[in-house]
Every structure is written in C-alpha cells, then in structure tokens.
Amino acid sequence: MESLSRFLAFLADAIVNIGDWIRGLLLGAGLADPWVSLIMKAIGAIVVAFFPLMVVIFLIWAYRKVAARMQGRLGPNSSGTWAGPYGILQTFADAIKMLTKEDIRPQGIDKIPYNLAPILVVFASIATWAVMPFGPKLIGTDLNIGIFYILAFSSAALVVFLMAGWSSNNKYATVGAFRSVAQLIGYEIPQLLAVLTVVMVTGSLRMQEIVGQQKIPLLFQLPVTAFIFFLASMAEVNARPFELLEAESELVCGYFIEYSGMKFGMFYLGEFMNSTAVAALFATLFLGGWRGPWVEQAPIMGTIWFLVKMALMLLVWMLIQITLPRLRIDQMLAFNWKFLVPLALANLCIIGLVNKGITEWFPGGVSAWTRAGILLMANVGIFLATWGILAALERREQRRREAWRAAQVGEVEVSA
C-alpha cells in the first residue's frame, strides 16, 4: 500500500519527477552544478525537438486512416503486406522508403540554397516549440516575449520557401514559391492581429501567463478572434481549402517539385510539424492549454489535457482538410484581404475599447464572468456588423461587375 501511494505520487507529476531523478543522478556522479543544468537543458531540448517528430509520425498514420474512412476505404491496415495492427507501422515503412530513395539533383540548381532549404524548414518549425507550455511546470523556457518568438520564427521561415523555389531552377517551383509566399504573408496579418487581441486581454506575452489567465477559455470570450486565428492558421499550414502551395493540377507540386528522397521528406515533415504547432498554439491561446480538472492534484493531467486539446484541433483540421475542395487563388486572396484583415482590425479596436470601457464604467471592478459575457456580446456584434457591411459591399461590386460585362457585350476582344 505504501509503495503504491508513493508510486502514484511519482506518477502524478511523472515528467518533472523523472527530470529531478536524472538531475540527482548527475549531481551524485560529482558533476558541477552549471554543467548539470546545461545537460538538463540539452536533454529537455532533445525531448522538445523529438516531440513534434513523434506526433507527426502518428499524425501521418492517423491522417491516412481518417481520410480513408471518410472516403469509404480502409487505409493502411494489416492485410496484404503486413504493416502492424491497423497499419500503424505504415509511417515507418514510408520513412525507410524515403531514406533509401535516390536523391536526384537536377541540373542548373543553385547548390547551397537548394540543399539548405529543407534543413531550414525543419529547423524553423522545431524552433517554435521552445516556448510551448506542455504543463504547469513543463515548458522549454518561459520567455517574456513568448508568443512573439513563435510569430517571429514562423515569419522568418517564409524566406526558406523562396530559397527552395528559386534555387530549383524550375518554372513551376518558382511560380509555386512566389504564390505560396503571397498566400502566407497575407494570412499572417490576421493571425498577428488575433494574437495581438489575445495579448491585450491577457496582458502578457508569456505563454504560461496566457494560459494562467484563462479561467474561462478565451474561445468563449473572444470567439471572433478564435475564428480569425483558426482560419488564418489553416491557411498558414496549407490545409485544403487554402491549399494552393501544392495545387497538383496547376503547379504540379509547388516549390518543392525538384526535391526527392529525404529532402522531399523534410518538406513533408515540416508541413506536418507546422500543423501540429498551430494546433498546439490554438489549444494554448484559446482552449486554455493545460488547464482542466484535476490539474492541481496531479500536474501530469495538465500535459494530458494539453495533448487532448491538441489532438482535438488536429482532428478538426483533418476533417476540414478532407472534406473541402480547393479555392482559386484570387478567391483566397480576396477572402483574406477583404474579409479577414478588416475583420481582425475592427475586432482588435472594438475589443480594446470595450474592455477598457468595462474597467472605466465599473470602478468597483466586475467579475470575470461578467467581463467575459460583455466581451462575448461585443464579439457577436462585431461579427454581425462586419458580415453585413461586407455582404453589402460585395453586392455592390457584383452589380458593378455585371454592368461592366453588359457594356462589354458586342465588342470583339474581351481582355482576360
């Protein structure tokens, strides 16, 4: 009985306890304290770097399985060539295939950028995990610029796509790179503005602080912000309604058309890692991260809640991606510039004013629930108003276009 309760206490905060155990072991071996903390940091970094890799290995299998089931197929399974129960070993088989595939270097490539690009893609997406809060005490490092650090790395990674596209010496790759960067930079703006709204309401850039502020998850306080962030990040990770980066029928494969073997694998990996990171980010910013019942008693539950919320977001991501067809590039850019960005700007201003107004008009202070209720109502108002205005604008535009077309009838040449 005694040993069982000790085991349970160990299990309640398992990851921190294992860390303490290793630290004790190293200190016992006679190492100086700064070296021990450096080694601990290195172990932590390796764990953090391998976490998205592990998730991706599982995610690729889950994606294929879910997609197959939704399309009435079986997907990877154990019949035929054996791939483990439910085909769970399929991803490993794919990995082995990629490892042993010939790496074709096309002629006329720009060697150094060409070889550097696949490395940097994975580099940038692992780097964002440094500040992701996995649990109450489990975080790589709680930087005081937290969320801005993540945005900075995902923004700097854009150049890598241009590097890959241009150095491939291929028309499709170049066009693909330029198009995809046009898409990504567009959708980064609403994402940025949504994050700004979150920072404003929680009053911190620290990831743990943002999680700590969410007694009521921000999804229920700022649904419009969550909506903007979700759509923008869907586009950022190149999920299907916005999947123009690798539109097979138009651009063959986008900017990484000339890559093969493991270098292609790196782009593939980077894409799935980014999806995972975005799901984790959404869970942290809007669903309360590791917050949930029983976290006080057993901190390990926090990590489990975090993983559950992340998995939920990934499932939503998969379902949307598998169901919807692709947009045209003009539709997609118009959706961003003419809907999401104005909405995000209006949202930022109005939430800022309303939230400050609550503080100004109720000098006694209000309960968190009242504030959340008022913010929610303001959100609904913003959404309806924006929708109305944009619909009216679009109708006007439509009329103008029809009038223009009517005027064109009869002329021989119609400009494209």
């Binding site: 940091k41 990629m98 042993t100 994975v122 104005p342 201003c349």
Partner: protein, 118 residues
C-alpha cells in the same frame, strides 16, 4: 534574462542537427546513379526550355508591401497591447488611432484596386 535563452540556443542547435542527421543518413543509404535524363528539370515530361524566368506581376510586390507595413505596425503594437491593462483610456485611443490610420491605408489600397488578383 540571458539564462532563459540558453535553452533556446541549445534547442536551435538540436533543431539544426536533426534534419542534417536525417539527410546524412539518407546520403549513406541511398543509391547514387545519376544520369543526364534523370537530372533534367521536371516540366511535365517535356524538354525543359529556357531558364526559370517567368514574367512576374507587380501584384506580388504590393502584397508584400502591405504585409511589411502591418509587420512593422506589430512591432509598435505588441508593447502597447502588453501594457494595455495599465493604460488610461486616452492611451488606448492612441493605439486605436494608430490602427485606424493603417486601416485607412488598407482601404486606400483596396479602393485603388491594388488588392485584386489580376
């Protein structure tokens, strides 16, 4: 403050090593039999012709321009949003004015048709 960045530094090194190791492993395992037909640039099976020079539209540049303006705006707005809870109302209004001016820029670009995909 710098101690916090040790972890970032270590993670960046690990993050650089991971893909290098994977690609290096592939380099050891893979077959290497290049031939000129194989290393041709892929153009849907046709003979590639010309360089990868394509006429680009200035539209791309305009999108990047608007993005740049909003990015720089973020550098100013993040410190503002961080201290938002301590600010008096007029300081919040200053921030809103800042955003409104940028919204005006967006409206200008929209009205000029710079945001259309041509």
């Amino acid at each position: 403050m710098l101690e916090q960045f040790i972890f970032v530094g270590v993670l960046l090194v690990v993050a650089l090593f991971l893909p290098v190791v994977l690609i290096g492993l592939a380099w050891l395992l893979r077959p290497k039999r290049p031939n000129p037909r194989k290393s041709e640039i892929y153009e849907c099976g046709l003979q590639p012709h010309g360089e990868n020079w394509v006429q680009f539209k200035a539209q791309y540049y305009i999108f990047a321009l608007v993005f740049l303006v909003f990015d720089v705006e973020a550098v100013f707005l993040f410190p503002w949003a961080l201290v938002y809870n301590w600010l008096p109302l007029y300081a919040v209004l200053e921030g809103v004015l800042f955003i409104a001016l940028l919204a005006a820029a967006l409206v200008y670009a929209w009205q000029k048709g710079a945001l259309e995909w041509m």
